[in-house]
C-alpha cells in the first residue's frame, strides 16, 4: 500500500489518477508513449450497443482555457469492443479497466452492461447518463433524479461489478441526483461530464460546431467541477470520482480535498499526451510540499 493508493468500490488503486472516457481511446494509443500500467486505471471510450460514427464535423472548438467537443459518442459498438478492443488492450494494460457505457434507452444501457459484465478485464462499469451531445438519450437520463435512479436500478440488476453513475453538471441540484443514484444502488458516482456550451464563428456568423452545441471541458471548468464534487460528496456516502479540468498534481489534491476518492483527467490528455504520467510523478513531491503523508487521508478534508 503506497502513499498514493486509494480504494475504489472494493478495488485497490495504486494511485487515484484515471484518464477520463473519450480522451484516452482504448488505451493503446497512449501505450505507444508510456507504460500505461502506472495509472490507477482508465475509463475507456463510451460504448453503445450499436457502432456509432458520431456527429458531423466540425466537432471540436477552442475556448479560453478549454475546448468544446460534440463528438457524439463515436465508438465501434459493444460487440467489437469485446471482440477487438479488449483483447488488444489486454496486451498493454494488466489492471482492471473502467468500462464506460452509454445508451439511448433503459434496454440499451442494461444490454451493454450485461455484456461487459462478463468481461474479466472490466473492474467497474461507469454509466454515462450525462452526454450532452446526443439526442434522445445521454444527458436526458441524468438531469432528473427519477430517471437517473431508474437507469441505476436497471443496470444494477444485470451486473455484479461496481456501478459508477457519471453525472451531468447541467442540473440545478447535483446533490439530489447523486442521492437518487445512491439510493437506487449505485456503488459510486463520477462527475462532472462536460458543460453544455457553444461558440459562434464571426466570419460565417454561424455556430462553430456543426452540432450547434457541445460540451465544455478543460481548466475553464475546474472551479465549477470542484464545487459540484464538493456538493455531491456531501450528499452521498458512496465514493465520488472527481473530474473536470484536472491537469496537475495540485488539482488532483484539490478534487480529493473536496471529497473525491479518485480523480479523472480528461481534456488535458489531448493537449499533453504525457500529462497523467507527469501528474503521477509529481504527486509525491506535491504532497510533501503540503505535508500530506497518505493521499487517502485528505479525501473530503475540505468539507465544512
Amino acid at each position: 500500500m503506497g502513499r498514493l493508493s486509494v480504494e475504489l468500490c472494493g478495488t485497490e488503486l495504486e494511485n487515484p489518477v484515471i484518464p477520463a472516457s473519450g480522451t484516452y481511446g482504448f488505451g493503446y494509443e497512449f501505450a505507444e508513449y508510456y507504460d500505461i500500467n502506472i495509472l490507477g486505471t482508465f475509463s475507456f471510450k463510451g460504448t453503445t450497443r450499436e457502432p456509432r460514427f458520431g456527429n458531423p464535423s466540425p466537432r471540436i472548438a477552442e475556448t479560453p482555457s478549454g475546448m468544446l467537443n460534440a463528438v457524439g459518442l463515436q465508438n465501434p459498438g459493444v460487440e467489437k469492443v469485446i471482440s477487438e478492443e479488449l483483447p488488444r488492450l489486454k496486451k498493454v494494460f494488466h489492471k482492471p479497466v473502467m468500462a464506460n457505457v452509454s445508451g439511448f434507452s433503459l434496454e440499451e444501457y442494461t444490454e451493454v452492461c450485461q455484456r461487459l459484465d462478463k468481461e474479466e478485464q472490466v473492474g467497474w462499469l461507469e454509466v454515462n447518463i450525462s452526454c450532452p451531445n446526443v439526442h434522445g438519450g445521454g444527458m436526458s437520463f441524468g438531469t432528473e433524479p427519477r430517471s437517473a435512479a431508474e437507469v441505476t436500478r436497471a443496470v444494477k440488476q444485470v451486473t455484479t461489478k461496481p456501478v459508477i453513475m457519471k453525472l451531468s453538471p447541467n442540473v440545478s441540484d447535483i446533490g439530489e441526483i447523486a442521492a437518487a443514484c445512491e439510493e437506487a444502488g449505485a456503488d459510486g458516482i463520477s462527475l462532472i461530464n462536460t458543460l453544455l456550451s457553444m461558440r459562434i464563428d464571426l466570419r460565417t456568423g454561424k455556430p462553430l460546431l456543426k452540432n450547434v452545441t457541445g460540451g465544455l471541458s478543460g481548466p475553464a471548468v475546474f472551479p465549477v467541477a470542484l464545487r459540484m464534487v464538493y456538493q455531491a460528496a456531501k450528499a452521498v456516502k458512496i465514493p465520488v470520482i472527481g473530474l473536470g479540468g484536472v491537469d496537475s498534481a495540485e488539482t488532483v489534491l484539490e478534487m480529493m480535498m473536496a471529497g473525491a476518492t479518485a480523480v479523472q483527467v480528461g481534456a488535458a490528455n489531448l493537449v499533453d499526451p504525457f500529462v497523467c504520467k507527469k501528474i503521477i510523478e509529481d504527486l509525491p513531491v506535491t504532497m510533501d510540499k503540503y505535508g500530506i503523508k497518505n493521499i487517502k487521508d485528505i479525501i473530503g478534508g475540505a468539507q465544512v
Binding site: 473519450g22 480522451t23 484516452y24 481511446g25 494509443e29 497512449f30 505507444e32 508513449y33 471510450k45 460514427f53 458520431g54 458531423p56 464535423s57 466540425p58 466537432r59 471540436i60 472548438a61 477552442e62 475556448t63 479560453p64 482555457s65 478549454g66 475546448m67 467537443n69 463528438v71 463515436q74 478543460g218 481548466p219 481534456a267 490528455n269 489531448l270 493537449v271 499533453d272 499526451p273 504525457f274
Partner: protein
C-alpha cells in the same frame, strides 16, 4: 510521435499572411512527408496542427497561414524563442505508387506539404510536375523553391493576375502524369477528384482536438469505414474517399 522543445531560427512573411518558420530540435519523430506537427502556442489551449514543409536533419520548416489569434501569435515569434511540438503525426504520403511522372497539386496553404514530397520524389529520379494554385498574384509563394528542386512548375491564379488564369483543374490534364498528389481547400480537392485521370492521394484538413488519435474529433467516413484524419489520415487514397453531403 514524439514530444519535443524546438527553437525558432527564423520566422518570415512570404505573403501578407503566409509565414515560413524554421525550427531546430529533435525531429526524429518525423518519418515521412505529408505528416504534420502539433504546436502548443502560449495562451491557447489546443495545439495548432501544421504540415511539414521541409526537413533537413534537425531543422524543420513549416509554412503556415495566420488565420486566427493563435497563428497570428505564432507569426510574431522571434529567433531564439521556444515551442513545444508533437512531431511525426499522421500517415503521410505513400510514394510507392507514384510512377515515373507524378503530378503534385497544391492550393494556397496546401502548397507546403508538396515541397518535401517533390524533393523526395525528385531524389528518387522521378520527373515531377507541380501545379500551384492561388487566388491572386500577391498570394503566390514557393514557386522558385520548387523550381530549384528541379520540378516542372506551373502556377494558376483565379483572377489571372499571375500564371495561368483559373483553377488548377483548368491545366492539370494538359500534360500526361502517372499519378497525382493533392493538398488544398476542400472545393479544390473535390474538383481534382472529378477531373483526375489517374489514381492519387489527397491530404485533408480538419479541426482537431489532440492530433494523435485520442479524441475522435476529426473522424471522417471513408469506403473503408471511419478514419481519423490525424491518425489514419491526413492522406487518403482517391479510391477510399466518401465526400460528405
Amino acid at each position: 510521435m514524439k514530444q519535443g522543445i524546438f527553437t525558432v531560427q527564423s520566422n518570415k512573411g512570404l505573403t501578407d499572411n503566409v509565414f515560413e518558420i524554421k525550427l531546430t530540435g529533435d525531429a526524429s519523430g518525423i518519418t515521412g512527408c505529408g505528416q504534420f506537427v502539433n504546436i502548443l502556442i502560449e495562451g491557447f489551449y489546443l495545439r495548432r496542427p501544421i504540415s511539414v514543409c521541409d526537413l533537413n536533419g534537425d531543422t524543420l520548416t513549416l509554412v503556415y497561414k495566420a488565420v486566427g489569434r493563435g497563428t497570428e501569435k505564432l507569426s510574431a515569434m522571434l529567433p531564439g524563442e521556444k515551442l513545444d511540438l508533437l512531431t511525426g503525426l499522421g500517415n503521410g504520403y505513400d510514394l510507392s505508387p507514384s510512377g515515373g511522372a507524378p503530378l503534385l497539386i497544391g492550393g494556397g496553404v496546401g502548397v507546403p506539404p508538396m515541397y518535401l514530397l517533390a524533393k523526395e520524389l525528385i531524389s528518387q529520379g522521378k520527373t515531377v510536375l507541380v501545379i500551384l494554385g492561388f487566388n491572386t498574384k500577391s498570394e503566390v509563394f514557393y514557386e522558385e523553391e520548387f523550381r530549384s528542386l528541379g520540378a516542372d512548375v506551373r502556377v494558376t491564379t483565379v483572377d489571372g493576375s499571375y500564371g495561368a488564369k483559373g483553377f488548377v483543374t483548368n491545366i492539370m490534364n494538359e500534360k500526361a502524369y502517372s499519378y497525382f498528389y493533392c493538398c488544398g481547400p476542400e472545393p479544390m480537392l473535390r474538383a481534382v477528384y472529378r477531373e483526375s485521370k489517374t489514381s492519387g492521394q489527397f491530404s485533408f484538413e480538419r479541426r482537431m482536438g489532440c492530433g494523435f488519435g485520442a479524441c475522435m474529433g476529426c473522424s471522417c467516413k471513408t469506403i473503408a469505414g471511419s478514419k481519423r484524419i490525424c491518425r489514419e489520415g491526413p492522406v487518403l487514397c482517391k479510391e477510399e474517399i466518401l465526400w460528405e453531403d
